[in-house]
């Protein structure tokens, strides 16, 4: 703009807003930080991640590991001794990248962690801004790839939720049943599904990339369903993040003997 000067940029946090504009970024900062700290700690534990028919979502799918869930058996012998091992460390980068590059989370952590801006119509600390145009920020476009991978992980989580119905008794027989953990795992699956299938990238690949959906009823129905979920994408994102952490905590506390799983039938 050359014809007239623009208003002077306001300083960090400067605003005439009267509401508690700092509350929502603070909640984002505290809740995301708590999840990151707990998730990192839990991922490095490499213990107490199964109980009965339950497998923690942080550790699913278990590629290598010590539980009977491991797809390829125990930790391979070639694993370097100086590299810490945990089945969670092999799988968490996929949902981690998916959430890190998610459009909802990007908007939330740019405010809560980066204060760019701290909130709408609030002055910023930085004078320089490059957005998501250049590298490395352009890597946010990896969201499409992490979405493809997360769909595979979702299939495993659905299998885990189904397996949570099948209990092994003392005699070695398998029985259909459910505990509170089963309910928690299904609630987690529903919340994760709402988040994943309402993802902007999923919405795009099922129909958003087309300008005409008439004459394609299945595609139109999928697009419509994704759009309905997408309208509350932020809520699905927050609740599913909570449910993943809570499911891990529940299974961990059961496995450690601090609580007893309530057997419903």
């Amino acid at each position: 703009m050359t014809h007239q000067p623009l208003p002077i940029q306001r300083g960090f946090g400067e605003t005439l807003r009267r509401d508690l504009w700092w509350v929502s970024p603070l909640i984002v900062f505290l809740s995301f930080s708590a999840f990151l700290v707990y998730g990192t700690w839990a991922a490095f534990q490499n213990a107490y991640y199964t109980y009965g028919p339950y497998l923690s979502p942080f550790y699913s799918p278990e590629i290598w590991g010590d539980s009977h869930w491991a797809l390829l058996g125990p930790k391979p012998g070639w694993w370097p001794t100086y590299v810490p091992f945990s089945p969670a460390l092999l799988i968490l980068p996929i949902p981690g990248l998916f959430r890190f590059t998610c459009y909802y989370y990007r908007g939330a952590y740019y405010k809560g962690f980066w204060a760019d801006p701290a909130n709408c119509a609030v002055g910023e600390a930085r004078k320089v801004y490059r957005g998501e145009k250049p590298m490395p920020n352009a890597l946010q476009n990896l969201h499409r790839y992490s979405m493809y991978l997360v769909l595979v992980v979702m299939a495993f989580l659905a299998y885990d939720a189904w397996e949570a119905f099948w209990w092994l008794d003392m005699g070695g027989n398998v029985h259909f049943g459910a505990g509170l953990g089963t309910v928690i795992m299904w609630a987690n699956l529903v919340l994760l599904s709402g988040y994943t299938f309402g993802c902007h990238s999923v919405r795009h690949i099922v129909g958003g990339f087309k300008d005409r959906l008439s004459g394609q009823p299945i595609r139109a129905a999928c697009y419509s369903g994704c759009s309905r979920l997408n309208a509350k994408h932020g809520s699905w994102a927050r609740w599913s993040m909570f449910s993943v952490g809570f499911t891990d905590i529940y299974i961990r506390l059961c496995a450690m003997g601090y609580i007893t799983d309530w057997r419903i039938f």
Binding site: M1, R17, A121, N137, N141, D211
Partner: protein, 262 residues
């Protein structure tokens, strides 16, 4: 009019309005006391102050019905249409601040020069319909296919979304970023079932869609409740990914021999 009708009623009170006064880059807030009632909107009070206390107060307005997009300003620090901001939505015991939009050059008092926006509109490739479907030169399309872009046509060009966007407001990227209003305009054209133009390369480079970091502030302030971020900006970012960052998807499309626009 009966003289008693002019007397203060239960809901009538005196309130302070702190209006920005000045020209170009110089100015300051000036306090005015006004007698108000709950049913009034901010524009009512500004016009009352203009009529009774400050005849030279500059204020742009037109329809007073939230449809012309002229009376955009910042009320208590938030971009709003003055004509759609009722006083009963604001704290009654505090002064109400009214200042001009901060993303555009200041002209006088509450008026800014928004002409930059119209320059941006000129940069966007125009509607290019496919060949007519019928011999009489007309087209056929399904309502379901135009529903998606009709949301964007609700825009009244109040430019509140441009004002609140930190890329323009705080970082002054006016030469590199066309802003949420015109990304929505691109979406309205790009997603139109009859349109054949490809605006995605320009959107990525000249229009600077990558500057948007999805704070959703534009959606928050839109008086027409257009889902600017979710339905316009992000779907277009996804189309940029289609063309520039997703070789897997591109291969699939090549092998399935399908066009993205059909």
């Amino acid at each position: 009019m009966d003289a008693s009708s002019a007397l203060p009623t239960e809901n009538t009170r005196e309130q302070t309005f702190r209006l920005w006064r000045g020209e170009r880059d110089e100015g300051e807030f000036q306090d005015f006391k006004a007698t108000v009632t709950d049913g009034m909107v901010v524009l009512d009070v500004v016009l009352q102050i203009q009529a009774e206390q400050a005849n030279d107060l500059a204020c742009r307005w037109n329809c007073k019905a939230g449809k012309c997009g002229s009376c955009s300003a910042e009320v208590n620090g938030k971009p709003k249409l003055m004509c759609m901001t009722r006083l009963d939505q604001l704290p009654a015991n505090e002064p109400v601040t009214v200042e001009p939009m901060r993303a555009f050059p200041h002209v006088k008092d509450l008026v800014t020069d928004v002409s930059w926006n119209f320059e941006q509109k000129m940069k966007v490739a125009k509607f290019q319909p496919r060949a007519p479907d019928a011999p009489d030169g007309t087209w056929r399309m399904q309502q379901a296919d135009v529903d998606r872009v009709q949301e964007f046509r609700k825009c009244i060009e109040c430019f509140l979304c441009q004002d609140v966007c930190h890329v323009l407001r705080d970082h002054h990227k006016h030469d590199e970023f066309i802003g949420p209003r015109f990304i929505t305009y691109v979406a309205a054209l790009e997603m139109h079932p009859l349109d054949t133009a490809d605006r995605i390369p320009a959107l990525k480079e000249e229009h600077g869609v990558g500057f948007c970091n999805i704070t959703k502030c534009c959606t928050e302030v839109c008086p027409e409740h257009i889902q600017i971020t979710d339905n316009a900006i992000i779907p277009l970012k996804e189309r940029v990914v289609d063309q520039f960052y997703d070789p897997v998807g591109k291969l699939v499309k090549i092998f399935s021999r399908r066009s993205t626009n059909t």
